[in-house]
């Protein structure tokens, strides 16, 4: 459903992504692992249109995204949970979720979907009238995920969802990612926590300084000596 071909992205003179190709098939969880600065977030931003690629193509169900205005991409069924959560701190939990559904026009469905999000994240329901800035890091991550789900995406991009969370919360977040996937949403996950990401992924790619250096199923890469050494702590 998502196909990236020969993608190059530059910041001024510096080429951050030097020509990568990968794909995400319908119903999969695909993860992109790599160290800090490998270009993971850059790739995510290029897909969601926040960055214009220098060349290459990004196809969502055959539609070219690189020439599209970024705010229109979410309407095609691609939502992103950004790195660092980036919830709207001064707005309430409920307002954040309503903003997530901004691209939609089916009002009655939106109310129903909010209840679905609350059943996935019961803690958000308890805090629905609180401003997002007063939530804990884990709750903010849940809100950022719930907010993106409100767009009713067919594919969800997640950038470092486990960043800065306690091990217990990380488990909870990964469990929820699997749950979201089971309900029919395709997932592209970017993670530094490679061990966790590989354990839930159908397929994975390793990104190193702008190139994809390895690819395979989650299991294969988890067993790969090079991956073990570089990303799984030996």
């Amino acid at each position: 459903m998502l196909e990236i071909k020969d993608l190059k992205v530059s910041y001024g003179m510096i080429e951050a992504i030097k020509g990568i190709s990968f794909e995400v098939k319908d119903g999969e969880i695909v993860t992109l692992i790599g160290a800090n600065g490998a270009g993971k977030t850059t790739t995510m931003h290029a897909i969601s249109g926040l960055l214009k690629p220098a060349s290459g193509s990004i196809l969502l169900d055959g539609k070219e995204l690189t020439k599209m205005a970024p705010h229109k991409i979410v309407g095609l069924g691609l939502a992103q949970v950004p790195e660092g959560r980036r919830v709207f701190a001064q707005q309430t939990v409920e307002e954040n979720l309503i903003l997530g559904a901004y691209s939609r026009t089916d009002k009655e469905e939106i109310t129903k979907d909010m209840e679905d999000v609350f059943s996935l994240f019961p803690r958000l329901k308890e805090r629905r009238t609180q401003t997002a800035g007063t939530l804990s890091g884990g709750e903010q991550q849940m809100l950022a995920m719930g907010r993106s789900l409100m767009a009713k995406p067919s594919i969800l991009l997640m950038d470092e969802p486990s960043m800065g969370l306690s091990p217990l919360l990380v488990s909870e977040i990964f469990h929820i990612i699997e749950e979201i996937n089971k309900k029919g949403t395709t997932v592209l996950l970017v993670e530094q926590n490679a061990k966790r990401a590989l354990s839930i992924a159908n397929r994975a790619y390793v990104l190193e300084t702008g190139y994809i250096t390895l690819s395979g199923t989650g299991e294969e890469l988890a067993r790969d000596e090079r991956v073990k050494k570089a990303y799984l702590g030996g």
């Binding site: 969601s48 705010h71 229109k72 950004p82 709207f88 901004y102």
Partner: protein
Amino acid sequence: MEFFSYLINGLGLGSVYAIIALGYTMVYGIAKMLNFAHGDVIMVGAYVVFFALSSFNLPLIPGVLLSVAVCTVLGITIERLAYKPLRQASSLSVLITAIGVSYFLQNAAQLLWSSSTKVFPAVFPSGSLELGSLSISYLTLITIATCVLVMVCLTLFINRTKTGRAMRACSEDKGASTLMGINVNRIISITFAIGSGLAAIASVLLCAAYPSVYPTLGAMPGIKAFTAAVFGGIGSIPGAFLGGLLLGVIEIFAKAYISTQLSDAIVFAVLIIVLLIKPSGLLGRRIREKV
């Protein structure tokens, strides 16, 4: 009684500042820029009402609506032509451009309509409401009522509508707003449209009180309203309202009790003191540094 009459006059003047300050504060909140051409939009609004009323003999309400329409289009055009190409530029470049737009509008007005002062027609009923020994002019009442109405409508719009929510989202995080599917450029245009439309309304109230129309008429109220916006906490809508009203009251009290000549100096001195104690303004949020 004198005290109350000064207070009400101060609130009247402050209401005009508040309506202008809303334009500064909304644009700052969303586009993160100081639109120093805002005062000159008031001037254009004043000329439009002047010509509508005295040359085309339009009644007041259609004249004001025409002026609001012209200013709204002017605001959107200024943003598109002068500020939008600088979206990625440093804030200093944008600031200098805004000052350039301000001079451009003043000189264009001088070229089109000459520098001679035109006398604004009397648009509101003269006379005043007598409450015992207190007398409040109808103009002051109308001005205060307009300001309250603007404030209520704007608050409802910002808090209750989809576009209003999107505006608040954009003021917090444009990147995340884009990811929600919000067209940030459109929201910025709407913000300029609202601010400029309010400037047109302010121009009528201003010219009803000080009935002369000339190319630099927007400069002083513009800078005072900007001060009011900073005073109240720039970026905050209730802050612009509070800052505007307080600034008007301080100005009138300073004129009445201290010195007419020094009133402006006193107004700005109060601003400096407030900013020394509370740099983000009365209702401004502290900006946290991102780590």
